[in-house]
Symmetry: C2
């Protein structure tokens, strides 16, 4: 793997295959591609290639492969783990998919949408909605995130409970391999057991095995009725009983079940000026169900009555309109912004088995109190998926690496994951090695070596760079 | 890859790691493991290893790896593509997972079930049901099929429309690699983006990349209400309009949408003595929806009224009881048996994009009439998934390979798959090469070589044996 500047003749070749405007090399032009949106992972690209179609992606990859120059694929640049920024060597070419943004087809009957990798998630969502269908990947960055990155990171978000991760929605995929080979698997099929399902390798491997250039995604019927409720619960164990009751009463109409700590809502009130319509509580649950059937609202009302009577919830409100529902969601959506205003924080995106959540939260709280006194946890997340964003607001005396270790080691005790939905990127590469078994890491390395023997695809992301 | 008999010292080593009863070598004992249940793919095992735990699987794999002897993993032996039987050389060891049949844990709140590979699917379904949950893989062979095989073949079945293929239900996996390395990924997590999701490689690769020894599967809430209807429709295009109307009215409560040709129901009447309760029609749709909400039945009734009025259905019945629903399903479930009694047939398990189904059926009918006159199609399948079992009853004058080609070439014209759910096994290896792009086959070979460089794992299945 080259760590020196890209050779000038490579840049010439790239320019000739990309045409005018397809290759950026001036420092000013490169700046937006050099760092992630949170400005945590700065780098220095040798150049930015902006292909307009798959053939140009293939040409870029073939040229870089021949020159032994690493390539860093980049979409909307909204990742949280530094997976899409180059290193500081000035020897890596950034490959931006932004110009490949066409929606090729929406099929409302077959429930599929075909689009190029640079298509913005929100644009794809809107195209599905225009046909009365739902593209059920929804996340905070949807106005900027591009489908290629959504797929390459196997993005999660708020609808995973009902519809699964992005992986569950990818029917067909086109990728370009490290050497420029185009592999076209753009099949609009819901069932296809003909040979290895190779596309699974590229979903969630963060551009380290190949470049996603286009995809066919699965759509779902849009639920006609939605019920959104906010409930005050005494503790996470009560939230768990509420989840169980909701599963029994509402089945898989539940599409979100978010747990929010009282401290998090206090941050939102203080820094974003939004207040909860229900009584202050140790913990809050934001729950949403959706269905095509009449009777959803009644079923949710009955459920709320039962859990309030049992004391598993101490207060609750069921949104009376879409506007009220949006106001409840705004509380949840402003937590990250409020956290940023509250001070410096260390973020964790962990998951544990769902029934272990109360014990995990208690254990992590104790471990932080003992190991990093003075820190303030800001806890929220997708409880229905076992995914907790266990963020920690720190003072100048605290080191983020030590906080990481405390939280991740607690996760490991409960059989959890150190990255539920954000991925590894460059941010968690060393933590991954600490937390995955050697046999798993060896298997990952074998896969990497088979698909990218020269280590030119997004080196240093997910796996450590080099052999 | 060895094609000669397994060396005697290997059998001695296997016996010493498996103990008495763990290794079968007598011809009579081997016979049940030598051929699939349809007796289409006979072979001759060198021996049958029956490990009792993962450590024994690892020991068997390590010993065979050291001796260069191929291993053929085998579960319930219900596959339809010859994926689990040895070749005729007498040089392959069959590895039966049947003794590893424990259900380790059912978690009704976390919605997970952990079991060993030899656990029979029906036993796992029952264990989930005992806790009020549903393991939503359901297929004709569920009383014999084992979870390891279900996972290794990414089994489909009747609930795919709502819950996806088996792949969508696997949360955690333990596998043993070709060299005996155990890779433990038994995590009960719904979201886990920490590193490559290597388990995807083993799901659906039919034992050619590693041996599945245990898994954690996702359960779902059991729908409290079910509505099952049988409808007569004039043609496949009307069935498609019915599907669209059902998607709009019922959303993802639809859990089965089966299309059955009039000829298929005639076969069931003639050979199984079961008759449809509705008027004879060119085509019939069996539809089932399920929900936790009241109001499902009313919604289905409203839908049926509308489609009957529009003429997209000409007759219909909604089951009044579980018994009636079972009687409707019995029509569907007896098709394969009736076909077997009707004579020799050539089976196809194909999928096409859902909106293309009417045109595909018309084109395949024309192609068969022209290329193989005198054949009788027996068409049924999971229309809601785009999966059609396009079987063809033939006379002595017809060759099955020619029929395969006619059907598969028609599938290819519509961008379909030659194996929607049954897999490739040994049966469709050559057809796969004909229908997949060279880049896809080269990528599959790279994956195979990376995980099984000596070609000892289920050689000749999915991919051609040898380099």
């Amino acid at each position: 793997m080259s760590q020196t500047a890209a050779p000038a003749d490579l840049l010439g070749r790239l320019e000739s295959c990309l045409g005018r405007g397809g290759l950026l090399t001036n420092a000013d032009d490169l700046a937006p591609y050099a760092v992630d949106w949170r400005r945590l992972f700065p780098g220095r690209p040798a150049a930015v290639a902006r292909p307009a179609n798959t053939a140009q992606v293939a040409a870029v990859m073939a040229a870089c492969h021949a020159a032994g120059v690493p390539v860093v694929p980049q979409g909307g640049h909204t990742g949280l783990a530094g997976g899409a920024t180059p290193d500081a060597s000035g020897g890596q070419v950034v490959l931006s998919l932004a110009r490949m943004n066409a929606i090729r087809r929406v099929d409302p009957l077959g429930l599929t949408l075909e689009a190029e990798a640079g298509c913005i998630l929100k644009v794809a969502q809107d195209a599905a909605e225009a046909e009365g269908r739902l593209l059920p990947v929804s996340l905070a960055a949807e106005g900027s995130a591009m489908l290629g990155g959504v797929i390459a990171t196997n993005a999660g978000g708020i609808n995973v409970l009902r519809y699964g991760m992005t992986r569950n929605l990818v029917l067909g995929l086109e990728v370009v391999l490290a050497d420029g080979t185009v592999v076209d698997g753009l099949r609009a099929l819901r069932k296809d057991n003909a040979g290895y399902d190779w596309k699974q390798l590229f979903i969630g491997s963060e551009g380290t095995l190949g470049i996603v250039t286009a995809a066919i995604l699965r759509l779902v019927p849009r639920p006609r009725h939605t019920a959104t409720a906010l409930l005050a619960v005494p503790d996470p164990a009560a939230a768990l009983r509420l989840l169980r009751a909701a599963q029994d009463a509402l089945g898989d109409t539940i599409q979100a079940f978010e747990l929010i700590a009282g401290e998090s809502l206090a941050l939102v009130a203080e820094h974003a000026g939004l207040t909860s319509p229900i009584a202050e509580a140790g913990w809050t649950v934001l729950m949403e169900a959706g269905s095509s059937l009449e009777g959803l609202r009644e079923a949710v009302e009955t459920l709320l009555g039962e859990v309030l009577e049992r004391g598993d919830a101490t207060d609750g409100v069921l949104a009376e309109s879409g506007q009220q529902a949006a106001a409840l969601w705004a509380l949840r959506e402003h937590i990250t912004e409020a956290e940023a205003r509250a001070g410096k924080s260390v973020k964790h995106d962990v998951s544990v088995p769902i029934p272990a959540i109360p014990d995990f939260l208690a254990a992590a709280g104790e471990a932080l109190a003992a190991g990093a006194p003075g820190t303030r946890p800001n806890i929220f997340g997708h409880m229905g998926d076992g995914n907790i964003h266990y963020n920690v607001i720190i003072g100048p005396e605290h080191g983020s690496e030590a906080i990481n270790r405390i939280v991740h080691d607690t996760v490991a005790r409960f059989g959890g994951s150190i990255s539920a939905e954000h991925g590894i990127g460059q941010y968690r590469v060393d933590e991954l090695v600490r937390h995955r078994r050697p046999e798993e890491m060896a298997l990952a390395r074998r896969i990497k070596d088979a698909l990218d023997p020269q280590g030119l695809l997004n080196p240093g992301k997910v796996l450590r760079a080099g052999p």
